[in-house]
Symmetry: C2
Subunit: 404 residues, 2 copies
């Protein structure tokens, strides 16, 4: 398996596009994305656990209940949530896309991201769909990736190549992240395409299993969004024998999916709202996997630690504090902590107590833009990683006046 | 029951003082507080749930295991946590206080607040105790209240008068709060004194019950501190018949304690690190008390809502979002939300959907420094309140470089 150029159009038979249709005020900001597969795909998705769910999620769930999909339509600028008639608008959007593409409206995945509780008009969407569909191309990945962005500052895409049943398969993904992102759900919007042939059931199994280690281990701000989903479409055009059970091919597929998802997680975390730094907490030596995960998540979620990382301040007591309230089983007297980056490694805590370290080295390590917080609980065999970002002035600025 | 002037010296027989002994660098910052009762008190305390616990907590727990205490010693500037020999230093501190005051070292409550993981020297404490004790007075409440502050910007104290068994009793409290404060523990440091006669068992019962509705419903930043405690001392000098069971007198006592604790909660929330606004989420119409509490806490903990409140932005979708991920049982279609302050009331959401409102009025309401977020779940009879504050540039600034 190897990482290649491209995104959702790396897999055979997938086209994409993104345009500005008028939901967002700024004319330079694309706000409507379309992904289309030449063949009907097996499809799977996971959704937010928030009780308040965006209208598009309900419609998407119903549409892919048969494990099939052929297109994704997604707007930014309005979440289509907590408003009147949201489901009707989501359904209408699917119908318009289906009519234009000559596919079934039950094979359309629909998603929205943006402000909650605002009316969404079908008009700009209806007006935009013809040009959006006419502009679909094998080079349109970046346009789609741009059109799903909200406060994201960079396009997030990745593609990989792997082998299944002797055939070269490709998988690609795009993501939008930035704010309102927190573990314990299928955070944010992610669309993944692959030309690998795999059954809907195995696709759902793969996705459900992998998000536990990837998107559910990601937090920007502790807020679990109302609109998040991760959807995968597999059109089988690589020509491999269909993966319909466990085995080597499924394992290869899982590896590819994990590579795509980890890469997108890191991109989302590094581009968290206002973020200047990607934080990765790697926990080892936990008694159970659950303890390892709880510990890693708690550390990357700590507002105090996030602010300290922004200030390049090696205030490791906040790491211990976050471990202590994580709910994980740990023996405080055994905990080791180090900070690691391209600039080096600085050990700051051994057996739960502070050790002498060079503040100068610590400053150099923490001034980099990717920081690993290495925690060894020295109490077992389990490991886990979680991703987050620092808490900055810009996070406050972006969210102090998001609507206007 | 009425609110009166003063703090911990309002109750008969309590003296206090606070000095700068040298733990903190700034000579103008008091860093050592002492509270003393002329008579041995019945005492009770609750502590943080963090697995990582400050050394003073272990020592205090042991000392008041017999339900008795006569003095509180507390330093700021160093948490005496995750360091070498912390318990020995906490014990030594108790011995020095006890010797100077001529009391038992087992009747001393010891507490620390400040940076985690730094060695704490006994020297400044030992050098400071004689002057600290010699300066004890009935007017020393403010000095003690000052000396326990960390990043607090104002002294937090309150006193009330109530009647038990026909006798006038007084109760007062001081608190330090500001950062690393989160529900589900006896957040921050609070010391409460009363001259009411009450048994240790009833005192513990009253405290344990009341913190569930007060300090456990308070969040500044989602970080559960390692050093928090709320301790109460009752010296019986009001001369009332001792309260040793349920009844009218105990109910009066509970009312007084709740008044003191709610007032301190509001002071702590309003003076949260970097805060410009006190947020109070009042939830009504919940199916159970647990649902009401979960909802209220989730709303005041949302980073996104906290940032919106800083920007006086009526982004009520974030309130719905926080209710949705709170884990509380709710019917989204029934939820009403309004923002209330001295400037008026603006209803923003009815039956889970946005309603037209005046953005101008909303701005006026949200520009005040005390904001109520009124949530009606319209689904039952239970209510709860939680307190928090807005998320500001200054929170990031204060915590980006706290150690230096």
């Amino acid at each position: 398996m190897k990482i290649t150029d491209g995104g959702i159009c790396a897999a055979k038979g997938f086209k994409a596009n993104g345009i500005h249709c008028g939901i967002r005020k700024s004319r330079t900001k694309r706000d409507l994305a379309l992904i289309y597969s030449e063949k009907v795909c097996n499809a799977a998705a996971v959704y937010t656990n928030n009780l308040v769910k965006g209208a598009p999620l309900t419609v998407t769930k119903a549409n892919i209940s048969d494990g099939k999909a052929q297109a994704v339509i997604c707007n930014s600028g309005n979440a289509n949530t907590c408003n009147a008639g949201g489901e009707l608008i989501a359904e209408k959007t699917c119908r318009l896309v289906a009519e234009k593409l000559g596919i079934s409206d039950k094979d359309v995945i629909v998603a929205s991201t943006g402000v909650i509780g605002q009316p969404l008009s079908i008009d700009p969407i209806a007006a935009g769909i013809p040009a959006l569909a006419d502009g679909l191309s094998y080079d349109g990945c970046c346009y789609a990736a741009e059109a799903i962005m909200t406060t994201d500052t960079s396009v997030k895409q990745i593609a990989v190549e792997f082998t299944a049943g002797g055939k070269v398969c490709r998988m690609g993904g795009i993501a939008k992240g930035s704010g309102m992102i927190h573990p314990d759900l299928a955070t944010m919007l992610v669309f993944i395409t692959t030309d690998c042939a795999i059954s809907s059931a195995m696709l759902q199994k793969a996705l459900k299993s992998d998000v536990k280690e990837t998107f559910n281990m990601l937090s920007i701000d502790g807020d679990t969004s109302t609109n998040d989903m991760v959807a995968v479409m597999a059109n089988g055009m690589a020509g491999n024998t269909i993966i319909d059970g466990d085995g080597d091919d499924f394992n290869e597929f899982m590896k590819a999916l994990n590579t795509v998802n980890v890469a997108l997680c890191r991109m989302i975390a590094g581009d968290g709202e206002g973020a200047t730094k990607l934080l990765e907490c790697k926990v080892c030596g936990a008694k159970t996997l659950t303890d390892a995960k709880k510990t890693a998540k708690s550390v990357v979620c700590s507002s105090l630690l996030k602010a300290a990382m922004f200030g390049a301040d090696a205030n490791w007591g906040r790491v211990l504090c976050a471990i202590g309230y994580s709910g994980a089983d740990a023996d405080v007297e055994k905990i080791d902590v180090a900070f690691i980056s391209k600039a080096g490694k600085v050990e700051v805590c051994k057996n739960g107590r502070g050790i002498d370290f060079s503040e100068e080295l610590a400053k150099r390590v923490l001034t980099e833009d990717e920081i690993e917080i290495a925690v060894n609980l020295n109490d077992g065999e389990f490991c886990a990683s979680a991703w987050g970002c620092d808490l900055t002035y810009d996070y406050v600025k972006i969210n102090g006046d998001y609507r206007t």
